[in-house]
């Protein structure tokens, strides 16, 4: 990839990602219409100047729902990445710093977590505590932990054998100080890429869980449930499925482009 393509990948990824994050932020304070207000009289309208994306089977404004849905999407994905990052990165750093017993413990615990796909844990949590946004966040977050732990450990192991780590030890630095001052800063690009990837996984997982009724509960709008609702009306109002579908696809595309642009072209 030439540097020019690299630049445009970054711009396109940043613009798409920024668009949806901005949409979620705006939706916190303002949407064109109340996304939960019903207006049965105005149901299933095609896109118009009043309702840019049209209205759904209960007369709600689709644009407002998409904007409010971005809140759920960004929120669930970001919080679950935070969980994965906060637990996984320190675990990975510790595993790399203390090869042997601690490494084995951490990595085998990871294997156990890894054995449960996000969807399965979400169904489990929903069965135990009732479905809701928190279940989705916890389930996807748990799924993220081993991913971050592994990426961090692999990067850290490669950095620990570099001479500058030996030099830091000769300078009397302990494992904690070296992990914090040398290993983490040098792994940050790799971790940033992983954050974008896990965000996109989170967005699709959130949509999937909501589609199954395991995520954000009605009446709070969610892209996944909008898709689920639109499914029964494809013959009547095909555009209803288009907008939430596009939202998921474009947001994920944006995050992936951003990740690809951040990826180091060659390891130093």
């Amino acid at each position: 990839m030439t540097s020019r393509q690299h630049g445009s990948t970054f711009v396109l990824g940043a613009v798409l990602t920024g668009l949806f994050v901005a949409m979620a932020l705006v939706a916190l304070v303002w949407t064109p219409y109340d996304p939960t207000a019903l207006a049965i009289a105005a149901k299933l309208q095609p896109p118009s100047s009043q309702h840019w994306f049209g209205t759904d089977q209960l007369g709600r404004d689709v644009l407002s729902m998409i904007m409010a849905g971005a809140k759920a999407s960004v929120g669930v994905a970001a919080l679950s990445v935070l969980i994965g990052f906060a637990a996984g990165v320190p675990a990975g750093l510790a595993a790399a710093a203390r090869p042997g017993f601690l490494d084995e413990i951490v990595m085998r615990a990871n294997d156990v977590l890894f054995a449960f796909p996000a969807l399965l844990s979400a169904i489990l949590l929903a069965a135990a505590f009732g479905p809701g946004a928190v279940d989705a966040i916890v389930a996807i977050g748990l799924f993220n932990v081993p991913v971050f732990a592994r990426v961090t450990r692999a990067a850290a192991l490669a950095l620990w054998v570099r001479d500058f780590s030996a030099a830091a030890r000769v300078a009397g630095k302990g494992a904690l100080a070296i992990s914090w001052e040398h290993i983490l800063p040098n792994a940050r690009v790799l971790l940033a890429v992983q954050v974008t990837i896990q965000m996109s996984v989170g967005v699709t997982a959130e949509a999937g869980l909501a589609y199954l009724g395991l995520g954000v509960q009605p009446p709070t709008p969610s892209w996944g449930r909008m898709l689920g609702d639109a499914q029964t009306l494809t013959a009547l109002a095909p555009t209803l499925a288009v907008f939430p579908g596009l939202a998921v696809a474009l947001f994920v595309l944006g995050l992936n482009l951003l990740g690809a642009a951040l990826k180091p072209r060659r390891e130093r």
Binding site: F164, A167, A168, V170, A171, G172
Partner: protein, 544 residues
């Protein structure tokens, strides 16, 4: 250019005429002309950045993207310049072989060496399986890897560096190409492996009559192996002709500098090599170190690999002590033990008379002040994210009390000036410096705690020959002026001879001989030391 009398050359296999190469619009090579006859080894020598590797790549048609090449490259009379990539790749391997510095990257780790060499034959000559195997066996035998003595079923990781390089040569020559281009084929190898690989190249020339272009920065390699040599400087050939004539009377100052670098004069020292021994600052007493081996069966557990077998060594105040040995002899294990990076299975390391091996916590930190290190790879030993100031000051927290920011800045500035850099360099980052400058920075970092001993692990082997001499002079000066002691670990005998007051020779985890450098080098007592010395090419021996 200054061509010397160069008569009775064999008809040219390879003729390069006014080769020009530009990369991204910038001229890198201009007016490069060479001829190579059958059964000849042509040396191509120069300092780093002189364009010698680029010339090799240009002949092979392996230039980086966005580069332009003009002139002519006649291989057996056929011009390679106008050929397309497709036509060129048919020529490479068949008529034109190549060997690079790092053999591991040239080999496929998943293929046994026999299969590896046979594959090349099948790809290029469309030979059948049997025929390819026969060719592979033949090629491997030519480089001294006989099927009767060593299994061809072995994998690259089971071989030594020198053996790997010989497999790479076998791959390059399996179809007996007319010309072999070898780019620094021995730079990554220790002396004994280097001698094997060079011997194998000479045998190839004798046996098959192929021509070899040997690219190197080392004049002693040139002296012992080539009949003619071309000296490069800044993308031009500044001198070419018969090797002996050029080495005896270099016409150009750059050639003279390369010859001097290979001869490596001893830097002037205040204390003579016969000076009385000083009280030891570093004592390694009877150190044993084992590494666990990989389990091959459930039972019994494999015996540990003994990397250090009762090693004892002493470094006096203000003394430079050399530790030489082949790769795998245990030099690096010893370094890790004496820096307390690994705990030994037995024995002790004493610093200024105090036991360092058993020191823990605050006492270990206090004692670490007295031993610092300079590592081999000037590119890997600095965190790329850190500024020079922060890097050089890193060992400062061993000091008690911790110096404040202003004090640290002053210490860093002083250390940088001490090693010949500017105080203002503190604000820059490692990537802004050359390899030689980085090793100076590494020495500054090692000096900042005012240690008793600095251990240098192959600290010069990644450096250009010309820079090497400068760093040696710096070390000699520091040992005299700052009363610093150095433990100089290296496989490069010429460098150790030039710098060390005393020398220890290590083989298979044992010290087999030690004594004053010149007496060990001039009259070795141990057969292994003698063999090691014989393997090292010496300029004077060739020219005498």
């Amino acid at each position: 250019m200054n061509p010397r009398s160069d008569d009775n050359a064999a008809p040219a296999l390879l003729e390069v005429g006014s080769l020009e190469v530009a990369i991204a619009g910038e001229t890198r090579l201009s007016g490069v002309s060479l001829t190579l006859g059958a059964g000849e080894i042509l040396g191509l020598v120069g300092a780093s950045g002189s364009g010698k590797s680029l010339t090799a790549l240009a002949i092979l048609g392996l230039l980086p993207p966005r580069s332009r090449r003009s002139g002519r490259i006649l291989l057996n009379g056929r011009d390679l310049v106008p050929l397309t990539e497709r036509e060129l790749s048919a020529v490479r391997g068949l008529d034109l072989g190549m060997v690079f510095q790092e053999p591991m990257t040239a080999l496929n780790p998943l293929l046994s060496i026999g299969a590896q060499v046979a594959e090349t034959a099948r790809l290029h000559a469309a030979a059948g399986r049997r025929e390819a195997e026969r060719l592979a066996r033949q090629a491997l035998a030519r480089v001294g890897l006989d099927a009767s003595r060593q299994s061809l079923e072995r994998y690259p990781h089971e071989l030594s560096g020198g053996q790997r390089q010989r497999v790479a040569i076998a791959m390059a020559t399996v179809l007996t190409p007319a010309v072999l281009i070898a780019d620094e084929p021995t730079t990554a190898l220790d002396m004994t492996s280097q001698a094997q690989v060079l011997g194998c190249l000479r045998d190839l020339v004798r046996l098959t009559g192929m021509g070899i272009v040997l690219v190197t920065h080392d004049m002693s390699v040139i002296a012992a192996n080539t009949t003619r040599v071309a000296v490069m400087h800044r993308g031009r050939i500044i001198e070419h002709g018969a090797t002996r004539a050029i080495l005896r009377r270099p016409a150009e100052p750059q050639t003279q500098a390369l010859v001097d670098a290979a001869r490596l004069e001893r830097p002037r020292r205040a204390r003579g090599s016969g000076a009385a021994p000083t009280p030891p600052v570093l004592e390694i007493i009877d150190v044993v170190h084992d590494y666990p081996q990989r389990r091959r069966a459930l039972w019994p557990p494999p015996p540990p690999w003994r990397a250090l077998d009762h090693v004892s060594l002493e470094v006096g105040a203000g003394e430079i002590v050399g530790l030489v040995g082949e790769s795998g002899s245990g030099k690096s294990s010893l370094l890790r033990v004496l820096l307390a990076l690994d705990a030994p299975a037995g024995g002790t390391v004493r610093l200024r008379g105090e036991n360092f091996t058993d020191a823990r916590g605050a006492r270990q930190r206090r004692m670490r002040r007295d031993i610092q290190a300079v590592f081999q790879d000037p590119y890997g030993s600095f965190d790329p994210e850190w500024s020079i100031e922060r890097l050089v000051a890193e060992p400062c927290h061993l000091l008690d009390p911790h110096p404040g920011p202003a004090e640290r800045a002053r210490m860093v500035a002083e250390a940088l000036e001490r090693v010949g850099l500017a105080a203002s360099d503190a604000r820059r980052h490692p990537h802004e410096f050359s390899g030689g400058q980085r090793q100076r920075i590494a020495i500054a970092r090692a000096m900042i705690t005012a240690p008793a001993v600095i251990a240098l692990d192959e600290a010069l082997s990644a450096l250009d020959v010309l820079v090497r001499a400068q760093i040696l002079a710096l070390l000699a000066e520091l040992a005299d002026a700052a009363k610093l002691s150095f433990l100089f670990i290296s496989h490069d005998l010429a460098v150790v001879r030039a710098i060390a007051d005393r020398v220890y020779v290590m083989q298979r985890g044992r010290i087999i001989e030690h004594g004053p450098t010149l007496s060990v080098f001039d009259s070795p007592q141990d057969a292994y030391t003698a063999a090691l010395l014989a393997a090292a090419p010496s300029l004077d021996a060739v020219l005498a």
